[in-house]
């Protein structure tokens, strides 16, 4: 299996949509073949269309707000006493997380194809919140599928979706989390694909959704590359990019622009959700060596039992609480371009405390997983190593969980 240079990773799949010959694909009911093919044709055409790129960039700039900040975390760097710690504050983006890029692009595509309704899944509620914002902006009706357990634990985002006029449809099946939300959303699309566009909230699902999402979030690394060069005059000789990985959209977007660099120069570290320290359950299929299976239309490493039933996951962070992982990351893992590890619930909470203690930055529970590993590793790294953590979400949405786990003083009001 080989990663090729000079070709965007999203375009390195084969005819049937498999990366490395085995990850991804289109394991979908016959009914979805046509709408998926339509979307493929539309996207392949538009991504080469200068006018469309201009339109996208205009919305990214004026509406989402680009670039998001790239800042040095001086106090944290001093406290740790190893590598330089920087953060790309993607939570600056309109709505507070990276999910806005994919949502915006999907709404642009839906509008062009004449669809009036757009549907989407959500775990942490960010993907749903952003889709509801973009749908409102572009005059589309919006339905969001969300696990009942997640609706309870991510109320601030649920409120935001409703305020934007979206229907939030609770999903009660299975573990009542993201995996069930994606399934239910796909079911709705099967029944309504003639009138309705679907947005998948991460780099997962049938191949075209993986590609559109990765293409959209790549804005993050395009900005970062410019910012690094402005700051250091070049892409640093020792650069390490830490990112949490749920489905993998924020991490893929954070890395894409650096794909062709030698990993000795630019290393990618993906941090999955290890779940509660005492629990056997986790949401870290890459770290813990889960087998390849089919989930939501794509072949990927996925938590499952011997029979092929998808296993329930457990994580304090709703956004990472997913048994599978993007085919793109399976590909990056097997080609050894990226390294994957996990942080437990407790480690993420501790990292959140550390970051908020030293810095005026409040990463949500998802990026707190990445901070946890970065902090640990940075201690042992040289001062000329640049560590960048993608702070891809704001902890406002987690205030109830944080209050419960850490007490009120850790939750600044917003």
């Amino acid at each position: 299996m080989k990663l090729r240079k000079g070709i965007p990773v999203i375009d390195q799949g084969d005819k049937l949509g498999f990366w490395g010959g085995k990850f991804g694909g289109n394991f979908v009911p016959e009914t979805l073949k046509k709408p998926i093919e339509d979307l493929e044709i539309q996207f392949n055409k538009l991504k080469r269309d200068k006018k469309f790129i201009k339109e996208r960039d205009r919305y990214f700039k004026d509406w989402i707000g680009t670039p998001t900040r790239f800042i040095k975390l001086n106090n944290l760097t001093k406290y740790i006493g190893g590598a330089q710690i920087w953060s790309k504050v993607v939570s600056d983006a309109n709505g507070g997380a990276h999910k806005i890029y994919n949502a915006t692009v999907h709404c642009l595509l839906a509008r062009r194809s004449g669809k009036k309704v757009i549907i989407g899944d959500t775990g942490a509620g960010y993907a749903g919140k952003m889709l509801s914002m973009a749908a409102k902006k572009f005059g589309l009706k919006c339905k969001i599928f969300m696990g009942a357990k997640d609706i309870k634990r991510q109320q601030p985002n649920v409120k935001a979706m409703k305020k934007n006029g979206a229907d939030v449809i609770p999903v009660y099946s299975g573990s009542q989390t993201l995996v069930d939300a994606v399934s239910e959303c796909m079911r709705y699309w099967v029944a309504n694909c003639d009138t309705t566009a679907m947005c998948v909230g991460s780099t997962v699902g049938p191949a075209i959704f993986v590609r559109i999402c990765g293409w959209s979030t790549s804005q993050i690394s395009r900005e970062l590359k410019v910012q690094l060069i402005n700051e250091f005059g070049e892409v640093p000789k020792k650069l390490k990019l830490y990112n949490c990985v749920g489905g993998g959209s924020s991490s893929f977007g954070f890395w894409n622009e650096f794909m062709d660099y030698d990993k000795k120069q630019v290393e990618f570290i993906g941090v999955e959700a290890g779940g509660p320290a005492k629990s056997k359950r986790h949401a870290a299929p890459l770290t813990y060596g889960s087998k390849i299976g089919i989930l939501h239309g794509a072949a990927q490493y996925v938590n499952q039992n011997n029979d092929g039933q998808i296993e329930e996951t457990e994580s304090i962070s709703a956004g990472l609480d997913y048994p599978g992982i993007s085919p793109l990351h399976c590909f990056l893992k097997d080609t050894k371009r990226a390294r994957y590890t996990a942080a437990s619930d407790e480690e993420a909470l501790k990292a959140y405390q550390t970051v908020t203690k030293y810095e005026n930055l409040r990463p949500s529970l998802e990026p707190s997983h990445a901070f946890s590993v970065a902090i640990k590793e940075a201690k042992k790294l040289s001062k000329d190593t640049i560590v960048v953590i993608n702070s891809c979400g704001d902890a406002y949405k987690d205030k109830n969980i944080l209050e419960k786990k850490l007490g009120k003083k850790y939750v600044k009001s917003n």
Binding site: L16, G25, N26, F27, V28, P29, E30, T31, L32, K33, K34, P35, S173, G174, V179, D180, S183, M186, R187, V190, A191, N192, C193, D194, K291, I292, G293, I294, L295, H296, G297, Q304, N306, D307, G308, Q309, I310
Partner: protein
């Protein structure tokens, strides 16, 4: 011996009657009971589809999901599914049984191993919901080699070009999905329109047996009786749930229902 699926359709052509296909979930509500249900409904049904329960079924509505989750909760494993078929076939060898499920279950079992066990237990056909054409080309060839009918699905969204290729690559039986819906949806398209699409398929290759599924219930089935066959699934699963909730015997209630269905197309 010729494939029992082909044989069944041939026999029914002589009777000038559409085939009645039932769908129940293996292990619902227990392994033993699902076997009892098969035995009993096979007195009225012509072909038995047996669902392999999966816990992330992206094309199934509420009723079939409920049945599948119930079976999984009771601990059903792939080998139990084969056992149910085997025990059924001991009694009714010539009654065709089709397994219907999602590809991950086959993938984890190993395609070759899966087919070997299908043969051993007496499975005659396979429907794999999320393995569409052309992704299914290699697997469907393997099925053919093992004399197992791989049943291609066609839907209202299938383009003309695909339609031809799919029919060409199909074996003896084709499954037409009547409308854009998961299983268990109400029939939201007029029977006339469905039959127009059905006839398009038949025109391309009249020799292939085409059955219609999705939205077929006691209420709607008679409108389609001049076709090769009809599949009823969700209504049966719902009846099992209803019976369990009312502490009645699902085997008796489901049999009654299937016998009524049969009368409606006889």
């Amino acid at each position: 011996m010729s494939n029992p699926i082909r044989q069944t359709f041939q026999n029914l052509k002589k009777e000038r009657r559409a085939a009645l296909l039932t769908y129940t979930v293996a292990g619902d509500s227990s392994n033993k009971q699902s076997l009892e249900i098969l035995k009993s409904i096979s007195n009225y049904a012509d072909i038995l589809e047996l669902g392999v329960p999966h816990n992330t079924p992206v094309a199934d509505g509420g009723q079939i999901q409920t049945s599948a989750y119930r079976a999984i909760k009771n601990g059903i494993k792939m080998n139990d599914v084969f056992k149910i078929v085997k025990n059924f076939k001991k009694i009714k060898y010539s009654k065709p049984v089709i397994l219907m499920g999602y590809y991950n279950m086959i993938y984890q079992y190993g395609e070759n191993n899966f087919l070997k066990n299908c043969k051993k237990s007496g499975v005659n056909g396979l429907i794999v919901v999320d393995l569409p054409w052309p992704e299914n080309k290699i697997f469907s060839k393997k099925c053919k080699k093992s004399s197992i009918n791989f049943i291609q699905l066609i839907s209202p969204t299938t383009s003309k070009k695909r339609l031809k290729s799919i029919i060409k690559d199909s074996h003896n039986m084709i499954y037409y999905i009547s409308m854009l819906s998961t299983t268990g949806g109400k029939l939201k398209v007029s029977p006339r329109k469905i039959l127009i699409n059905y006839n398009k398929i038949k025109k391309i290759d009249p020799k292939k047996n085409c059955v219609i599924g999705f939205g077929i219930t006691e209420k709607t089935i008679s409108k389609f009786k001049n076709t090769d066959g009809l599949v009823v699934g969700s209504q049966i699963c719902k009846e099992i749930t209803r019976s369990l909730n009312n502490r009645q015997n699902p085997v008796i209630n489901v049999s009654k229902m299937v016998s009524k269905l049969r009368k409606k197309i006889s």
